[in-house]
């Protein structure tokens, strides 16, 4: 019997890990979106949420490191699958097309590597912009905290950020369109009926998540930041 480390390096083990990490990342982005939507709440809602996260102290670091690890494993395996496929078929077909029917080949599934790599690069820029960016401080409950909300509103008034984020979020939707169902399948979903249902749920969830994320930059840009009806700055 292989050790657990060996087992998760095998083809089947790697796929199970991809599904598992993918699942956890979907959970993360659901929470992330919920946090983002705080921008539409009370003037202090978003910064209070940020303060709450910072107050977690060491727990926040555990979550950050855990998340980084999950992300790196997911990306590493995804890229290695993409490299492997070249080795497994050195000579391509002159003509190739899907047979349709039960096949899940399409724009979403065929572009997993592309959308994944874009997301990987995006995350680096994203962290640099919003987690490491220059921020003023505001007083929340008498304590100084980072003014994330102003940074977000200022950033998305720049069309490059507003539209750049929108495009990347469409790609996120495309990644999840195949990814959510695929994660279930990798985690051994075998019933045909459940599989069809989960595929539909996965696509709907992917669209909702993408729209949820891209709505914010577009709304800030077209609404004129603090002037927008749903955003209450003070």
């Amino acid at each position: 019997m292989p050790s657990l480390i060996e087992a998760f390096q095998s083809q089947v083990g790697r796929k199970i890990l991809t599904g598992l990490t993918g699942f956890l990342l979907v959970f993360f982005i659901i929470f992330h979106l919920a946090g983002n939507l705080a921008i539409f709440g009370d003037p202090d809602a978003m910064n209070s949420y940020s303060q709450f996260l910072h107050d977690l102290g060491p727990l926040l670091w555990v979550a950050r490191i855990g998340l980084l690890l999950i992300f790196v494993i997911h990306a590493y395996i995804g890229i290695s699958i993409w490299i492997n496929k070249r080795k497994a078929r050195p000579q391509q077909y002159k003509v190739y097309s899907s047979k349709g029917g039960p096949s899940k080949q399409g724009l979403s599934s065929r572009s997993m590597a592309f959308t994944g790599i874009v997301l990987l690069i995006f995350v680096v820029f994203h962290i640099n912009t919003f987690a490491l960016g220059d921020m003023d401080t505001v007083l929340i409950d008498g304590r100084e905290t980072h003014d994330v909300k102003t940074l977000v509103i200022d950033t998305f008034q720049n069309p490059i950020y507003a539209f750049g984020y929108t495009i990347v979020m469409i790609l996120l939707g495309a990644h999840l369109g195949h990814g959510i169902w695929s994660a279930f399948t990798s985690l051994t979903l075998r019933s045909k009926k459940a599989s069809a249902t989960i595929y539909t749920i996965g696509v709907v969830a992917a669209v909702l998540l993408a729209v949820g994320f891209l709505f914010i930059p577009l709304y800030i840009y077209f609404g004129g930041g603090c002037d927008a009806a749903l955003i209450n700055c003070n």
């Binding site: 047979k99 029917g101 695929s182 399948t185 979903l189 075998r190 019933s191």
Partner: protein, 248 residues
């Protein structure tokens, strides 16, 4: 009976070492009642009469049960029809004047022997790794000695229908053999006779599949779409499930 003119673009390759290329052929008077392989027979008769080398292709039963005739027709393993092996495909599927591109299955694990013939012994080695049950041979035991539930028997039979043609590998964008290996594992692991070697079999067959140089499964499900016997990708889920059970 209507006769058609068919243009063919066939992959010709002398052996694994020599690079191949497409050759164009034109066949007149192709009957709509011909099977795809009969059409290739007609092409070969013509080539032989012209003193040229006939197109090498694998076939045996020509009734869709042996799994020999794996070729990629217009970019699809076994041609355009679902649950149909290339030998069961008929020329009535095509129209007069159509151009058909025929390629061998392309995968590093299936090296080309000649033209459309590839070496699929990688599949044999996956079976050798664990696709069997160890029993003492001798007089056949009483058939009803080990009860098997009807559902289990049906599922096992569905997986056992895999004819090992390699269409799944040919069609998979990653050249993965997950459907073949999954079907073989799921077939034996679901039956009582397969239980004693269950974990060992799963690990050994998965390892051999990787050793042969097949790609990873990305859940495209294209394999299920081209499988001439319609094996579901639930076989792959069964393999993953059994793999998890085996390692913990």
């Amino acid at each position: 009976m209507s006769l058609m003119t068919i243009n063919l673009k066939v992959w010709r390759q002398k052996n694994a070492e020599t690079p191949g290329k497409f050759e164009d052929y034109k066949l007149d008077e192709v009957s709509e009642h011909m099977s795809f392989l009969e059409m290739l027979d007609v092409l070969n008769e013509k080539l032989i009469k012209e003193g040229k080398d006939p197109v090498e292709f694998d076939y045996d039963c020509r009734e869709g049960i042996c799994g020999s005739c794996n070729m990629v027709i217009n970019g699809r393993a076994h041609g355009p029809k679902h649950k149909t092996a290339a030998c069961q495909l008929h020329m009535r599927t095509y129209n007069d004047g159509d151009t058909i591109v025929i390629e061998p299955p392309r995968a590093a694990a299936f090296p080309i022997v000649k033209d459309l013939v590839v070496d699929r012994s990688a599949f044999d080695r996956i079976i050798e790794a664990g696709g069997y049950i160890s029993v003492k041979t001798g007089a056949a035991p009483e058939a009803n000695l080990i009860p098997v539930a009807q559902d289990t028997s049906n599922d096992a039979f569905d997986y056992a229908t895999c004819i090992g043609c390699g269409g799944c590998v040919a069609a998979c964008p990653n050249s993965s053999a997950a459907l073949f290996t999954g079907a073989k594992i799921a077939h034996l692991n679901s039956l009582p006779q397969g239980q004693p070697e269950r974990d060992k079999r799963t690990i050994a067959m998965v390892n051999q599949m990787e050793k042969e140089g097949f790609g990873d499964c990305s859940n495209y499900a294209e394999c299920e779409a081209v499988c001439p016997v319609g094996i579901s990708i639930s076989a792959i889920a069964e393999m993953r499930r059994d793999y998890i059970k085996a390692i913990f």
